[in-house]
Symmetry: C2
Subunit: 386 residues, 2 copies
């Protein structure tokens, strides 16, 4: 099996369902990896995309990582039977990369890695979660359906609290009893109002997490921790700079309920530092590392296994991302759960068209590969890559 | 003063003077920032380049950072008199960037930042080190000439020890009594032979540092520390993964002579972690942060000032890079010294054509800007950007 061509394009994305609202000029990269394999009479093409919430990586993909794959001997990225082996392809992409500097390139590699897994699972005729369970062997812990929550709740420039309540009711109607909203950009008193409105809008028995998007300085983080402690939040996320582990540790000492961290850490080296110096508690805290941002699944597996070796349960991992790829990964590895973005980052976030969580869980699609084709708008976007 | 156009191109670079030797496919980006200012009848154009030792950043420059500068209102990147203010331009470039993920983009921003300082100093009719001393005011500590050492000593695929000795003698002939060579890719016994050959080739009273290029696992690092302790090395650099601070700390506890670190850390957040957890000793150890890799001079200043506030002397800073920009920065800030790459990373490394260190020190050029024009081959390369 051979990689014949890699197509790539940058596309805008938005935090909001309403395309009129400005969203910081966010972009992402879409890629299609064309192979010489066929399955059921069709050429196997793998699809992937880059960051949800940061920026496209077209330059690094075109100039550094795709050329390494295209120039490689196919024996370097296939297994003994000639099938595409994404773990070996990952080693090809990382040739000559230096230690340190875990930003941007980790997303570029993760983008291509996602498409490589899609292609490999399609060629094998399996949905990705089953393909992973087979190919990872004892490293997998397959489960049929994944606990999920809905991500969203970005501040609205107008009628913020009312629109946030509407959004949460919409998510509840879609079957989500657990959700996460953003805080940290408004004054704390306003964020407490937002939290109250969101909690009221979710169904009885639901849970609300909040994400401060790394906005707080230490004093603000401690003030927020004190104000939010009594509110019964599911978790408090990204309270300070992602590498300010002493600050995170101080917040953890002051905030008894769960804290979530790791969305903006991209390597096993940073994950170990978080574990060693972040003051997190293995009995309750949440790890958000995003497989697509952490050099793809091979990089993510290193993080999961390094932290597992130091005593973290897999149930602590709830990967950021909110799309079908993370759902497959969570199902195959037996993680705590996964984010789903039903309304934002369209057309990338969310489950298959028409699918909804049942009893707080969602199953990944059973079509071959990741199943991006089960989302009509996303499938059309990928097909436009040619 | 207004930025009119930004030109950019990727070019190959080599660790070796001999262009035949393979050098890992390294590349760098060159940029020219064209302004509407004139000085002495000529348009002011600022020049910069990216990584020395990693890869080009053309995609991030073209797709993310140059467009922000070009789209900005000039009042956002000029001072009250309408002169280009690189610190304000830096804020424009960093608009919307998220915390965390300090790789690649830090070099892309640093590349443009270098060219912005070149343009600003040229427009002011001053060599950069004097322009910085004026514009930074009390944050500067100007000194007329900078202690320097020659970087080089990469392993040769054939006749390694003999060619290394020749290279060190060549550096000594060029006026360098201090040099640094690479270790870590050969077995330790071979590296000890290389060190011995290099030390013998340097003049009496010289000093040799060694750079392990982050190659060692902990047990290898401790073994190397034990073997190298008696050799009287100036410093031992980059002994393990740049973020493995517990490993670095173990090496520091076992190695009494100076240790150097920080070349592969790119942000003030990582610098603080190195300081807090790396076990380094403020009375002897060396900090290698590279201004062009750490989001440019504004990012580098944050690192210098954060570590100074925690007790580090400026004399501990010996920035990586080996070119004229770092020489100006070291002269303006009163740092310990600077690397110079007289033979490698041509045409970027080294002093002005014909210049040589005197008594272990080198002065930055006195032409306006960084003075890349004092290097004929480099000036021609920049001019080719059009």
């Amino acid at each position: 099996m051979r990689v014949l061509a890699i197509h790539e394009r940058s596309v805008p994305i938005s935090r909001y369902q309403d395309p009129v609202l400005p969203s910081g000029g966010l972009t992402t990269s879409i890629v299609a990896i064309e192979t010489d394999a066929t399955r059921d009479g069709r050429t196997v093409v793998g699809y992937g995309f880059a960051s949800i919430g940061r920026f496209a990586q077209g330059g690094l993909i075109r100039e550094r990582f795709a050329p390494r794959l295209l120039a490689a001997d196919p024996r370097d990225y296939t297994d003994g039977d000639g099938n595409l082996d994404p773990s070996r392809a990952w080693t090809v992409m990382m040739r000559g990369e230096k230690p340190g500097g875990h930003g941007e390139r980790c997303v570029a590699v993760g983008t291509l890695d996602m498409a490589l897994w899609d292609a490999a699972a399609k060629a094998g005729g399996l949905p990705l979660h089953r393909f992973l369970a087979e190919s990872l062997g004892g490293r997998a812990r397959p489960m049929p359906a994944v606990p999920v929550y809905a991500g969203g709740g970005y501040p609205y420039p107008q009628d913020d609290v009312a629109r946030l309540g509407d959004e949460m009711r919409r998510l509840a109607d879609l079957g989500y009893s657990r959700a996460k909203i953003k805080i940290g950009s408004a004054p704390l008193a306003q964020d407490v109002k937002r939290i109250d409105a969101a909690q009221r809008a979710l169904p009885h028995g639901g849970a609300l997490a909040v994400d401060a998007m790394n906005a707080y300085a230490l004093d603000e983080a401690l003030e927020a921790a004190a104000a939010l402690s009594p509110l019964g939040l599911w978790w408090l996320e990204d309270v300070c700079d992602p590498l300010a582990f002493d600050e995170l540790s101080a917040v953890a000492a002051a905030y008894p309920r769960p804290i979530a961290a790791g969305e903006a850490l991209f390597s096993v080296a940073e994950a170990k530092l978080l574990d060693q110096h972040g003051g997190l508690r293995r009995d309750r805290d949440i790890l958000l590392f995003d497989p697509a941002h952490c050099y793809g699944l091979p990089g993510y597996l290193r993080i999961v296994e390094a932290l597992e070796a130091s005593g973290w349960p897999r149930a602590a991992f709830w990967p950021h991302g909110g799309h079908l790829f993370t759902l497959h990964v969570a199902a195959a590895l037996g993680l705590g759960g996964a984010e789903v973005n039903p309304l934002c980052f369209r057309p990338f976030g969310g489950l298959s068209d028409g699918a909804a969580p049942m009893g707080g869980r969602a199953a990944p699609p059973e079509s071959a590969g990741i199943g991006f084709e089960t989302r009509a708008e996303l499938a059309a976007l990928f097909r436009s890559l040619g």
